[in-house]
């Protein structure tokens, strides 16, 4: 698209009778424009979705009620949104951090698995006193996730192995390890393939009424990363690497240590998401607790343009879409595929709005 904006380039959509449309890259994008474009995109996405839903037989008068009011203004549903949001925000942050140093981490699910495995190992070993058990599980989860992420990071830095392939394939290895544990040494006493239930001291409590502890962890992680990316030396270095690793290297940025440690951070964040799902939702390690979060994380990181604050917002938004979609299914018999269509429409509108904020469309006669 950059070519189209350069002087003398053939105009996009040129037509003699109607003037011509040119696309220019904006020199700077104000936060107001960004927020405005995001809000506009969501509005357009919701409008398209509303039309599709009315065509599918949902009474138009019920739409706002079911989609927005019932989802966000009902305490039970709002709680469900927050429960769903906590791991989504964390995997979104995980993706955003890795993408910041141009490491395409598609291994979020495997790192989540290792987070759950690390936490469960502490639970099964009854490591330490009850009062510090949760903290121990949290730390063990982060270490396990970071260790698992270290494999593709090392492979990339030492042997130039493409991380898109290695992280993706390591997910399958991680899932086989999980099943091996759950069908083997960690099988429940009743013979079923899930771990023993966590004890009460191993469950993340609801710290604030209505807001689960997982959400508090996710919010804290997001806040911390906002500070790190905006204020710290590492944050500045990340911006260099994001722009151009080779130039960053030439400027004396320690690119390789930075990439390595950021990937470990990304793995640890995904692992915390796994810990949150296992300890605040399932209450034990199950076979499928991580499923679907990998794609969601990448999507959130992408839509948030690798910004941790935006990732938190987009994570909550995605959770709202999931819960609102379920409401539609429950009461109008709308098939799940229709719900996915709506979610895709909104996501695509947001992605497209990004193009329009970064570029300026100029109509010249």
């Amino acid at each position: 698209m950059a070519e189209a904006s350069s002087p003398g380039a053939p105009p996009a959509g040129a037509s003699r009778g109607f003037g011509r449309l040119t696309i220019e890259v904006r020199r700077s994008v104000s936060p107001q424009l960004r927020i405005g474009a995001l809000a506009g995109a969501i509005a357009i996405g919701l409008t398209i979705s509303a039309i599709a839903l009315v065509l599918a037989g949902v009474p138009a008068s019920d739409l706002a009620q079911e989609f927005i009011v019932a989802t966000l203004f009902d305490p039970t549903n709002l709680k469900a949104v927050f429960v769903q949001a906590a791991p989504l925000v964390l995997v979104g942050l995980s993706a955003a951090m890795a993408f910041r140093v141009r490491f395409w981490n598609l291994g979020i699910e495997g790192q989540m698995i290792f987070g759950g495995v690390g936490a469960t190992a502490v639970s099964l070993a009854h490591a330490g006193p009850d009062s510090t058990r949760l903290v121990a599980m949290f730390v063990a989860a982060m270490l396990a996730g970071a260790a698992w992420a270290a494999i593709p990071a090392a492979l990339k830095l030492l042997m130039n192995v493409n991380e898109i392939i290695s992280t993706l394939l390591l997910n399958y290895v991680a899932s086989d390890i999980l099943l091996h544990l759950l069908y083997g040494v960690w099988k429940d006493q009743d013979g079923f393939p899930h771990s023993l239930k966590y004890s009460a001291s191993e469950l993340i409590p609801d710290i604030l009424p209505g807001a689960n502890g997982g959400l508090v962890i996710a919010a804290a992680a997001a806040a911390l990363l906002v500070v790190v990316t905006a204020r710290s030396r590492a944050g500045v270095y990340m911006r260099f690497v994001s722009a151009s690793p080779s130039v960053a290297e030439a400027l004396g940025v320690p690119v390789r240590p930075l990439v390595f440690s950021t990937v470990l951070l990304s793995g640890a964040l995904a692992a915390v998401a796994g810990f949150v799902v296992a300890s605040s939702q399932e209450g034990r390690l199950t076979q499928s607790f991580y499923q679907g979060y990998g794609v969601s994380g990448v999507l959130i990181g992408f839509l948030a343009r690798n910004n941790p604050f935006a990732a938190a917002i987009v994570g909550v938004l995605m959770a709202t879409l999931v819960i609102a979609g379920q409401n539609l299914q429950v009461f109008y018999g709308i098939p799940q595929s229709m719900v996915q269509l709506i979610q895709a429409v909104i996501v695509m509108c947001v992605a497209a709005s990004d193009f329009l904020t970064v570029h300026r469309l100029h109509w010249a006669r």
Binding site: D74, T76, N77, A80, V83, Q84, P87, D176, L179, Y183, D190, G191, F192, P193, K197, V277, Q281, E282, G283, R284, T286, Q287, S288, F289, Q291, G292, I323, Q326, N327, Q329, V330, F331, G333, P335, Q336
Partner: protein, 367 residues
Amino acid sequence: MSLPTKAVALAAASAVAWSSVALTASALADVFKIDGPPKVAIILFGPKNDGGWSQAFEEARPELEKIIGAKIPVVEKVPEDSSAITPPAERFIQRGYNVIIGTAFGYSDTFKKLSEEHPKVAFLDASGITNGPNLESFYGRTYESQYLCGMAAAAASKTGKLGFVAANPLPVVNWTINAYEMGAKAINPDATLTVVFTGAWNDPVKERAATTALIDQGADVIGQHVDTPTPQIVAQERGVYGTGHHRDLAEFAPKATQCSSVWTWAKFLGPTLESIKAGTWAPSPYGAFPGIKQGGTDIACCGSAVSEDNKKKILAARQDIIDGKNAIFVGPLADRDGKERIAAGATLSDADLWKMDWFIPGVISQK
């Protein structure tokens, strides 16, 4: 605002009262009653047209709607995560639904929690493992139907080498495999059963690879306990026979499929809903475990490769099972390592069935 609060307080109070009743009195028979007529909702694990497990419930729905005289809404593709199961269930309950039917093992913990939070709502969970005063898990005695399909498989086989594509080595799958081999031996005492576990309930790619490998090794009938019809489709492509699971898979492989173990959920859930409606529902503390007689499972049999003579034998064996003359897992029975598992004259208990981690002689599998 005060009315709902009061209702919640009352519900909480009655929950406390109930649990104390449960602690003091053992007679729980008619403690549970729903308010008003049953309003039923189903939460499906898979898509409603998955061709197998989830579709079997979808196909039972019209009959159940007739029984309760109301529409039954469905939510599909709800994975086995608490964060995914809780919102639709809560939503239904908010709108006055008082019978919630779930369809997955992984719903067990969440349904238990929901049933404690909503003591006036009846919960049923297919293939679940939790139970309570208002929660009953249920599963069919698939070893009965798969025993009969094993007979059909041996009847259709020329080589006596049978193959089986299985999901995970769980008791419910293990008893299917053992019963299948026992049924096969009833027709051909030399029949063997080679089993491949795919490690997934729904993975057509692995199922295709497993089926192909079994046929390459000489198996000429392919049984299955996975959720897709892939093994039957591959069997038909390769010109051998097979037996299906969940539904009549002749729909997908009319030439190959000789017998299918099918779910007959309307036959079980119908009377269950009637009893909930009548206020006589007493969920079993061990869950419901209906066989062919009570309507959990049955067979669609037989294809053209099974001779009339053998078909008669299979239908006679089915009648014996219904009449209680053949409990399948009766002693003496040793596992393939020679260890006695059922003593002579004894029948395997349900508790031991749910722990089955052994295979009978003739079953060949990775360990």
